[in-house]
């Protein structure tokens, strides 16, 4: 009884003290310039923290703008300087006068070749690996090792992939320097892109879809084939497009495995190479004409860079558009 009264009076006292403190604080704010004595009015502390908030927001915002300015500026610079050489003829003509005139047709077709072949190899393997990781693998140490391998495959420097391609395909498998060796190297290098995006696309399919299918007596693979894959095909396609982007831009892996400085090709010939031959490639062509051939007109160099950049950015835009459309159309 005694203790109860005591605590009650203590509480009352505390309330009094608190009220006094509030009044004091309000008066202080009023003195500092704020006229209102409204309890919810902004005090100077609130004002200060809001001001900091705004400053910080602008600081971070400008940081992200600064990092993205080079993207816009550089693309513009490249296109402007390439403009004089950017013609239809430049795309379809063959190099002349030791690369100092003419076009880039053989390199363009060569890139199409290596990209297509690498796609043929990487897509089935990558998609099935994605299916394995998302649909079959259990959450144990072995799956972690597979995951770690995928991460490392993406993280190993491209030049090490090149050494691997040289050691394994060119020398050990006896394929020599050829489109085949180059495509295999590119395929292995770009595999993680497809694996990761397939896995994510499959993950987005709700578990209930699978359960409904299993309940009808379908096996795991039947479920995957008839329910999971059709519902995630868009995401998988996005990954494949990104793989094309990667494969087209890479230079190092094809340098010692199949790219060649010059190959005589007819103008506009769509099938100039055999898979066992070496070929020219756009990325390698850009590297050689800008570092090893003196006297190439600047606008031609820029035009080659712009064609490569354009190729990659167009495919990337396709991937982004596709992804946005899937996200907007999703019914679940």
């Amino acid at each position: 009884m005694e203790a109860g009264r005591n605590s009650e009076s203590l509480f009352a006292e505390a309330v009094l003290v608190d009220r006094k403190a509030r009044v004091l604080a309000r008066e202080e704010t009023a003195k500092a310039g704020a006229i209102s004595t409204n309890l919810f009015a902004a005090t100077k502390f609130t004002n200060r923290k809001l001001k900091t908030q705004t400053i910080v927001k602008w600081a971070f915002g400008s940081m992200s703008v600064i990092i993205l300015i080079p993207l816009v500026v550089l693309t513009t610079v490249l296109v402007v300087r390439a403009w004089p050489s950017l013609t239809w003829d430049f795309l379809t003509d063959v190099p002349k006068q030791g690369m100092r005139a003419g076009g880039i047709w053989p390199a363009l077709v060569g890139t199409l070749y290596t990209v297509t072949f690498s796609l043929l190899i990487a897509v089935p393997v990558g998609v099935m690996a994605g299916i394995y990781l998302n649909e079959y693998a259990r959450d144990n140490w072995f799956t972690w090792i597979v995951h770690l391998a995928v991460v490392n495959l993406a993280g190993v420097p491209s030049i090490v992939h090149a050494l691997f391609g040289l050691g394994a395909f060119v020398i050990f498998a006896g394929m020599g320097k050829s489109i085949l060796s180059a495509s295999l190297t590119l395929a292995i290098m770009t595999l993680p892109v497809i694996i990761v995006s397939t896995k994510e696309a499959l993950l987005a399919v709700p578990m209930t879809f699978r359960m409904a299918c299993w309940n009808l007596g379908a096996s795991r693979w039947q479920t995957i084939r008839s329910i999971v894959l059709p519902n995630s095909i868009g995401g998988i396609l996005t990954g494949i497009i990104l793989q094309v982007c990667r494969a087209a831009g890479e230079t190092a892996p094809i340098m010692f495995t199949g790219a060649v400085f010059f190959k005589s090709v007819q103008r506009g010939d769509l099938f100039p190479y055999k898979p066992t031959e070496q070929c020219m490639a756009l990325s390698y062509h850009l590297h050689t004409i800008s570092t090893q051939v003196p006297g190439v007109p600047d606008s031609m160099l820029y035009a080659t860079a712009v064609v490569l950049l354009g190729f990659v950015l167009v495919f990337n835009t396709m991937a982004i558009v596709l992804r946005t459309r899937i996200r907007n159309r999703k019914k679940w």
């Binding site: 299916i131 079959y136 090490v160 090149a162 694996i195």
Partner: protein
């Protein structure tokens, strides 16, 4: 109903059940095949990583077996693989080149990338976020040879003009280019880490009246600390492994950009990195060369030394990637 009729019904049923059984067996067989195919593809990544190590090691092994001098290899800056009298293989200068380019790249990339990641995750609206993410993705899509070209043709004259350096192909040039190249990976991973902070933390801070910035500084950043570290690590891995851009932008001279005179670290010196050494010399290094008496071909040491550099690069990036993954995994388990 006659008896013969009855029998034919039975026959039909038996035949049907047989065909069903065959079909289901076939089905089971094809299912088994496809599942094992999926399993093989699933573990293919492991096979490839082992394959990479195996084949790179296989080509480089003779160099390590026959009188390999680790001290001379790692601690000497004498790289004279084509000298006639005295061939020497020391990669200290290349290690220094890779190290300095990576350092400058991270000085450029880390603050801006983390700032961008925080802005994207916490400070901007949905529309701005979409646009920024797409632009970051474009930045990631630019091929490394185009970056190298930009360093060569755009940055090179710019650096000469601004700093008065005799050559614009140097640590600074390559550092900035590689920095820009590693921005996307750092932004993406860091943003993931920030988004992975539990909502309950954020709601609790908001309920206490914290502003967005107080929330970020006191709650989000401390909680996402290790994820941000992983992001930076992966950025380092990307910078170390970059090949074409540094091949074209570093100036390609064997040189350690440090000395005893101030400012000690010469950011305007040309260097050469590990990756660029392989890319530049592998084309001219034959696998076999004439033996000492010229009679029979022997395996060329230069060629093997380049593969040993490949092993060094593999080990560096492997360590970085595994560490980063362990950090990320630690976060996930902690949840």
């Amino acid at each position: 109903m006659s008896r013969s009729n009855q029998r034919s019904e039975d026959d039909k049923r038996r035949a049907r059940s047989l065909s069903t059984r065959v079909r289901s067996m076939l089905h089971l067989l094809s299912e088994r095949t496809i599942v094992s195919l999926i399993f093989i593809c699933g573990v293919s990544a492991v096979i490839f990583v082992f394959g990479i190590f195996f084949f790179v090691f296989r080509e480089g092994a003779p160099f390590l077996r026959h009188g390999f001098d680790a001290g001379g290899f790692f601690l000497s800056a004498d790289w004279f693989p084509t000298s006639v009298i005295n061939k020497r293989y020391g990669i200290l200068a290349q290690l220094a080149g890779t190290g300095t380019v990576t350092l400058v790249a991270m000085l450029v990339a880390v603050p801006f990338s983390l700032g961008t990641a925080v802005f994207i995750a916490e400070f901007c609206g949905r529309k701005t976020k979409e646009v920024l993410k797409i632009l970051v993705e474009f930045l990631a899509a630019i091929p490394s040879v185009v970056w190298g070209f930009i360093g060569l043709m755009v940055m090179n004259p710019l650096i000469v003009k601004l700093t008065g350096a005799p050559v614009g192909l140097n640590v600074l040039n390559a550092g900035i280019i590689v920095g820009l190249m590693s921005v996307p990976i750092i932004v993406t991973i860091a943003e993931d880490a920030i988004r992975a902070v539990p909502d309950a933390y954020i709601e609790a801070a908001e309920a206490l009246g914290a502003t967005r910035w107080q929330l970020v500084r006191k709650v989000v950043l401390p909680a996402a600390k290790s994820g941000l570290l992983a992001a930076v690590l992966l950025g380092v891995g990307r910078a170390v492994g970059e090949t074409m851009a540094v091949l074209m932008c570093t100036g390609h001279s064997i040189n350690i950009p440090f000395d005893g005179t101030p400012p000690y670290f010469h950011v305007l010196d040309s260097v050469r990195t590990l990756t660029a050494t392989i890319a530049a010399e592998m084309g001219e290094a034959p696998r076999l060369e004439a033996g000492p008496d010229g009679a029979y071909p022997v395996e060329a040491k230069h060629y093997q030394a380049l593969f040993v550099i490949g092993i060094v690069l593999f080990v560096i990036t492997f360590t970085i990637n595994v560490t980063a993954d362990l950090i990320v995994k630690g976060i996930r388990k902690g949840k």
